[in-house]
Every structure is written in structure tokens, then in C-alpha cells.
Symmetry: C2
DNA sequence: CTCTTGTTTAACTAATTGGTTAAAATATAT
DNA sequence: ATATATTTTAACCAATTAGTTAAACAAGAG
């Protein structure tokens, strides 16, 4: 399943094509003609709908990040135990990245380029709620430590390690496929989620 | 400390400048004039030494990856226990990325772009030894499992999780700095290495 | 000092690129 | 059927870009 540009229209086709192009080449390296080719439309249509390259880029960032944060927030059940909430977040992120591998790649690409569009999109989408998502997860980890469920780890470090472990496979997927000679990728990915839950919780859970 | 272009000459300045430009914008998005500006040389000099943009890009990839793998191989002491070998690898990678944050970023950028230059550089550098590095690390993990030191984890998954945890901070550094409100980064980085060793080994060590 | 080699530069060329435009085609409303 | 609005296109323009070149400069050898 792809990014939720679920209607088929020239505008959606352009956004879908632009996402692919920006993920591969960044804003500067992306070519408008190449986006038009991928979307099977005339290049002028890109300008008709989005005015210019930067606007198109911004629109793609906003849509991608909004979708990302929406699905993560929906995964948190505050009535559940800290352990289960963390497990739920891991599952939600993993599922999101599995279905939309472009998301972590685009985010990191934009981080590399120090894109002001990224900062803007990030601020608007990821910190729109009263408690931004990363703070929410830190609170869950702190709560787990207080209750004696988790070992007294550094919550910010634990957040980084958890997110990094989840994201890394999808970020480094071509590298991983070649280096590890993965033959059945669907099976490998199922095993990956199991392994992450196992490793993270052996690393966090107080025994 | 930077990438080991340790001499100061126009050629080294160009390579250093090119690395920065390619890390930010990729090969297509990088500008030769911008590289020349960063290196404080005339643009024609880039072509004088490296012929064209693609050659310059290749040269940068080769040098970066060669340096990366050299320092990792030097960190492995086969006479040591599997646990200490893994600890050594973690330390070596962490130290390498700390000193050269461009390395993980460049690798992931090239992965995104499906660069044939990357595949070539990767093949030449990372798999030049009789036992390529990833296989070496898998062997160490398997050995640890056989000796009863490690839990019976999936070695390939464990390799991904270990490398991912180490690399992620440096890949996502601007994101992490903003999201986690890091004030004293040197201290945070010291804590990060401790945390990684702690988390990974609570996750791997059989108790 | 002179000659040769290597380095560096300003100016240039040709191709590429983002963006524009007027006209044609299509869709919609009456 | 006609008029209007929207969408789409081929062709175009100006700016940008990679790469080239002849000449000037610097370094080295004899």
C-alpha cells in the first residue's frame, strides 16, 4: 500500500511521482521533467497545480509527515501499561515504514540537506499537539521506570535507540538486502519485528 | 578530526569540499561551482584533477568507504571473547561516526539514489577481504550463541540492530537535537555510547 | 637564465533546467 | 447547441550548469 494519495487524478499522480523523485534525488537533484515523465503528464501541469518546484516539494513533505504522525498517535492507548504502549508504538512505526518506506528516507534526506521546508513541515505536523510525540514517548518510558517495569535507562537515549532500530532496516534496505543475502524478504521483515520487540524488551525490562 | 585528507593541497581541499557538497545534495544536486567555492579554487581545477563530476563523486565514495572499513577491521581482536569483540566493534563504529558524521549520511544518501557508483565502491571496499565484514560480525554473534554467552537471537537481525543503533544518532542528529532539546552534545554523545553498550548487551547477553 | 612541466585562471560553449504562454482540448453549465 | 471554465499541451525563453580552452603563472630542472 502506498502513500494515501488514494484518488487517481493528474494531481495525485504528480504527488506520487514527486515523492519518488524527491526520495531518490532530493529537491535540488530532482528534475521536473522526470517527475512529469513518471506521472505521465506534461511538465507544465506541475506548474499549473503547484506553481514551482519548491511548492511541490513542500506539499509532498506536508502530506507525508501528516500521514506519519496521524497513524502513530492513533496507536497510543494511554490506559495500557507502559510496556504495551511502547510495544504498540514499535508496531505502529514498523507497520507505517513497511507500507511507506519512503517516509524514513525522505525525512533523513531532508535532514541532510538542512532543508527549511523540512523544518517548517516538521514543526507544523510533528509538534502540532499539546504534547509533541517524542515527549509523549519519553513520558511513557519514565512512567515505566517509576513503576519498576523498566530498568533505570536514560529515556531520551531509549527513545533514540527504539526509533532507530525500527527505522534502520527500511532506511538501509538495499544495503541490508545485499549484505545479508536476504531471499525471502517478507519472512525477514516479519522476523525483524519479532526480533526488535525481543531485543528492545530484553534491553529495557527489569528482571 | 575530519576525513583523512590530511594534506593541505588544492586536490585535498577539493575532495573535502566535494564530500560536504555530496552529503548535503547528492551527486545530481551538488554543484561544481559550489564545490569550487568551498575549496577556494577555480572550477576548472575540478576538471583538471578529476575529469568530471561523476569521477569526483566516485573518488569521494572510495576514499570514505575505504577509511571506514579500515578502521573497523583494525578494531577486531579475534583472540577476545565474542562479547568483547562486539563491544569493540560498537566502540570503533561509534568513534568513527563521531569523528566523521558524513560517513553514515553519505552511505544512506547513496542508497536512496540507487547509485551505481555506490555499488561499485561498496563492492570494491567492503567485500575486498576474504571474509566480508558483515559475515565476520555474524560469525562472532554465532560463536557467542554457541558458547552460551548470547541468547539464541537471529544473528543477521542482531547485526542490523547493532549497526542501526550505533549509526542512527549520527544520521538523525539534527532531528535528535531539535526533538530532544540536547544542550550539552558532548555529554549526550558519551552517554549515548554507554547506553548503546548497556541496551545491546542486556538485549543479547544470556542471563 | 632558459626551457619544460605542472598548475591555475577568465572566458567561453553547449546542454540542461525551471518556468511561461498561447492555443487546443475537455468538461461543465445553461 | 452554445458559452464558459478548467485542464492540458507543444513550443518557447532565460538562467543555470557541466565541461572546455587558450593563456598566464608558478615550480622545477639543467
Amino acid at each position: 500500500m502506498e502513500i494515501a494519495f488514494d484518488e487517481s487524478s493528474p494531481q495525485k499522480e504528480i504527488l506520487r511521482a514527486a515523492l519518488k523523485e524527491f526520495v531518490e534525488y532530493g529537491q535540488k537533484g530532482a528534475r521536473m521533467q522526470s517527475i512529469a515523465d513518471r506521472a505521465n503528464v506534461n511538465k507544465a501541469l506541475l506548474h499549473y497545480y503547484f506553481s514551482n518546484k519548491q511548492n511541490l516539494h513542500r506539499e509532498v513533505l506536508h502530506r507525508v509527515f501528516r500521514m506519519a504522525i496521524n497513524s502513530i498517535y492513533q496507536s497510543i492507548d494511554e490506559a495500557d501499561s507502559p510496556e504495551n504502549q511502547i510495544r504498540g508504538i514499535i508496531r505502529a512505526y514498523f507497520s507505517l515504514f513497511r507500507q511507506n518506506p519512503a517516509i524514513p528516507r525522505l525525512m533523513l534526506l531532508e535532514l541532510n540537506a538542512n532543508s527549511s521546508d523540512f523544518i517548517e513541515a516538521f514543526t507544523q505536523v510533528f509538534q502540532a499537539d499539546t504534547v509533541p510525540f517524542p515527549q509523549k514517548m519519553i513520558q511513557i518510558i519514565e512512567d515505566g521506570i517509576e513503576r519498576g517495569i523498566f530498568r533505570p535507562v536514560n529515556p531520551r537515549q531509549a527513545l533514540l535507540s527504539t526509533l532507530g532500530t525500527v527505522a534502520f532496516y527500511f532506511i538501509a534496505r538495499p544495503f541490508a538486502r545485499q549484505v545479508l543475502s536476504i531471499e525471502n524478504e517478507d519472512q525477514f521483515i516479519e522476523e525483524r519485528l519479532e526480533h526488535i520487540q525481543d531485543l528492545i524488551f530484553h534491553g529495557l525490562i527489569k528482571e
